[in-house]
């Protein structure tokens, strides 16, 4: 069953930058994990956070990374360290692909197939 509806009014987007940080509980909720899952990965150095007033605070880029870790661990039953290594490689590949696209665009080449 599919329904469609339009929402014509403009939704204001809130920019979650370095000054709008997530709590540990926020991050756990967004990633559908228990707070203990976040703490364990924080202690293992797989996620980065700042400590403000004795509480952990996470930047929005960490939300993207934490979601990726959770998905990799769940889908592949992956060890957290292995999931983090994979996430590192995914981030590195994305960065290099972006550089490649930029260079190809600058040289007037089309995108590579695939």
């Amino acid at each position: 069953m599919t329904t469609a509806h339009n929402t014509p009014n403009v939704q204001p987007g809130e920019l979650l930058d370095d000054t709008a940080l997530f709590s540990l509980e926020d991050l756990a909720r967004i990633c559908h994990v228990a707070p203990g899952w976040v703490s364990e990965r924080l202690e293992a150095g797989l996620l980065q956070a700042d400590s403000l007033g004795g509480h952990w605070r996470f930047a929005s880029a960490t939300v993207v990374r934490a979601r990726r870790l959770a998905q990799l661990e769940t889908t592949f039953d992956a060890d957290p360290q292995l999931a983090a290594l994979t996430a590192d490689l995914i981030e590195e590949v994305a960065h290099l692909r972006q550089r490649l696209q930029h260079l190809e665009a600058a040289m007037g080449h089309g995108p590579r197939p695939g």
């Binding site: 509806h5 929402t7 939704q11 920019l15 930058d17 998905q71 769940t74 665009a105």
Partner: protein, 331 residues
Amino acid sequence: MEFKDYYQVLGVSKTATADDIKKAYRKLARKYHPDVSKEADAAARMAEVNEANAVLSDPEKREAYDALGRQAPHRPGQDFRPPPNWDAGFEFSDGAGTAGGPDGEFSDFFEQLFGRHARAQRAQSHYREAPRDAEWGGTPQPSRGNDHHARIELDLLDAYQGAERSLTLRGARLDDAGRMVHEQRNLQVKIPKGVREGQLIRLTGQGSPGTGGAPAGDLFLEVQFKPDPRWRAIDRDVYQPVAVAPWEAELGAVIEVHTPAGALEVTVPAHWKSARKLRLKGRGIPAATPGDLYLELSVALPPAHSDAERAAYTAMAKAFPRFDPRATPGA
């Protein structure tokens, strides 16, 4: 509603062991996982594979599904209605350990068969802490709606100026009867100035509706910039290639450059050095502490088409008799 052959989806036989199913699932997840897949329909295939795995990796669901197949054999894609009380006599636990992933969505077919268990399953996947959802006639507890996530592509200029974008998002929710309803909606979104690659934009209350009076979830948009030969951003800093003429590079000049921050007059210092960058402080992506704009200068040689143009190059060669462009190793 279409019948789904979960064995066919995973590419395993009906006698496949739990290990066979796990291997097949991981192989397909490797192929269709959104972070690694290059397949065009990866998201849809991943959802299908997740669903098949959710049923076949759970002994209770698999047993009921197999029994259904024996009661009412169907081919994949064939119109299907589950027989009344098809699951009578089967006992389902909460389905822990069978979740497809944080964003798992299930088809009408799955929802018709396992819908009332699916809600409990989504609330209790391996790591989840959400309060238990309605189970076997229990009273639903107030529960905040799920957050949604989507990636959007913007132009770098949007980060400088802010923008209004029309987004079409596809999603799914459970209706009051516990059935999955697929939805498509259009959102007009105001993109704030100063957005950076990888940053999240939150649209409060645009996720799934909450239950029992609890608030709706939020929609998080992850920003990516479209590739643009004119410029690229790294964090808040922006890099822009700028070609200069040989005489501008060596003698220095004031040139006009069209940057994301607008047209600017820039002084190119005399005496060209390769890989030279000019930093325009504070002309990167706007923020309380804005980024910088780096102009990456390269020398463009004018093509010599006419006799006069060729003569100019000849005169240049005569003017620099000791110039050896290959004097530098590797040049």
